[in-house]
Amino acid sequence: MSRIGPVFSQPEHKALIAYITVGYPSLEATLKAVPLLARSGCDIVELGIPFSDPLADGATIQKASFSALQNGVTPQLCLEVAKQLRQEVDIPLVFMTYLNPVFSYGLEEFCAACAKGGVDGLIIPDLLPDEGSELEAITQKRDLDLIYLLAPSSTGERIRLVAQRSRGFIYLVSVTGITGVRDRLPANLEAFVSRVRKVATQPLCVGFGISVPEQARQVAQVADGVIVGSRIIQLMEAENNLKSVGNFIKELRRALDEPNRI
């Protein structure tokens, strides 16, 4: 079993999941940020392996990916970064990337390297369960969780499919749209989460567009975890000492731990 399961077995605990792009704004920043995220209250960190054509991402992560690629970040380097981070943090580390870099590396080889480096799972937004059986078999052999996504547009049939196949948790995309900071949560979020809840036994984590503690608090009332990405990237590019990132994560943590405050 990967490290992801135990995160969700703590009673009354809502998972806080942070996304950062490896190598943005610099490799040093990534190496410093992940221990800080863990210390400040994150339960899982998603390490983004940059891809040249990130078609599910909005402007912030597009820019981060492009810049990381300019900095020479490759899947190989990301594997090394993860391995190094594994020496410093105990929380689960999950790679988030698109299929082609993984496919190009070789599915077997990539998963073997992930397992060796202490990575716990993979999120690949352009890999549907319909196309995923090969990678599912390989990840299971290596004790990696292949985490699938669902969207508000998903039909009952799609929800059943993902509920059968996703491991670790299910990533619920909060909006029909791409990643990025948004002012408000979609009105139908609660209905969407409960539609999935009726079918799935996995923990449900909601991402896309969550950027302030109040939104996180609201999401945590219906979901098991909250995923924050673009806002963290914006804070990371704003300054070097990462202080605001740490503070932001602590605020999110507080919002999740005291859901009835405010």
Partner: protein, 395 residues
Amino acid sequence: MLSDNRGYFGDYGGRFVPETLVPALEELTAAYEGTKADATFWTEFESLSGDYSGRPTPLYLAERLSRHCGGARILLKREDLAHTGAHKINNALGQGLLARRMGKRRIIAETGAGQHGVATAAVCAMLGLECIIYMGEEDMRRQSLNVFRMKLMGAEVRSVSGGSRTLKDAINEAIRDWVTNVTDTHYLLGSTVGPHPYPLMVRDFQSVIGKETRQQIMAELGRLPDYIIACVGGGSNAIGIFYPFLPDRDVRLIGVEAAGRGLKTEEHAAPLVAGRVGVLHGAKSYVLQDNAGQIRETHSISAGLDYPGVGPEHSYLKDIGRVTYVAVSDEEALEGFQLLCKTEGIIPALEPAHAIFHAAKMASSLNKEQIIVVNLSGRGDKDMDIVAEALGVKS
């Protein structure tokens, strides 16, 4: 034939997209399948193909070009004479009618050279649909005439400044729009690329080119051609003319990719000749990529071929050896371009100029009894500035 129900041509194709798009792709697949049992859809398609698009386009025996080459007879399938100046209108019309049938009033599309954008803008104007075209900044600069044409026909042209600012990035941006506005929007994808059902559906709408060619050559010459040659970017004009001839093993099919500044440089756009298998824009196919699986920037003098991927059916046809794929450089394409201008008084687009060059080269080594058909997929008006610049002509 070909393509299973998951959209695979052999190992290629499939659906590699965000989950958000799955219901829309399923709806589109069902709607498209639905037209097959519905004669009224195809009656309207054929009627508008005639009255609006100007089909059938002629199959023209290029006598002076053939004589100049001194070998095989070269015939040109004149898609350049179709409305809006290229084969792109066939697919735009088919998908436009389908979108209307599905009740989608907002149409988005990507364009490289601008030909697909112009065709989409025209069809949307004719059908009264809202039209938004995504176009790379670099392509807007080199194809400014087409930008103006789209705007005249009521389309909004949105410039894409990410990545290489060309067709690949325009597709990324169109997919992002579709993910966001999926309920009321149809993505009118312009080539045989993308997730299932696009490669299949676009091929079917474009295969009118090959069907006509077959009828015309049988009527005029009483026999099938020895060779059919077409340029390949995403591959829609090529698959359109090849597809009806796939069972005819004696008809040799040749796809011409863009070798840009040379296959030994990184500045080309020839994934079938010089790429390896990967996943781009929703399908598994040959892709130009670096060792780390990042999609490479490409170069071709023709914006319509300047794309790192290719349709999955072409990848399959390459692997089984049914179609031979070659690459022709910028310089050679310019030579083909000028040759057709001077011998026939036909100004081709730079995309089919690649195919013209290859045909002319081949023809000289063949005998006079042999027949080559070239798909002249578009006209060259849009390329005047580029050609003038490349030839050092000051206008």
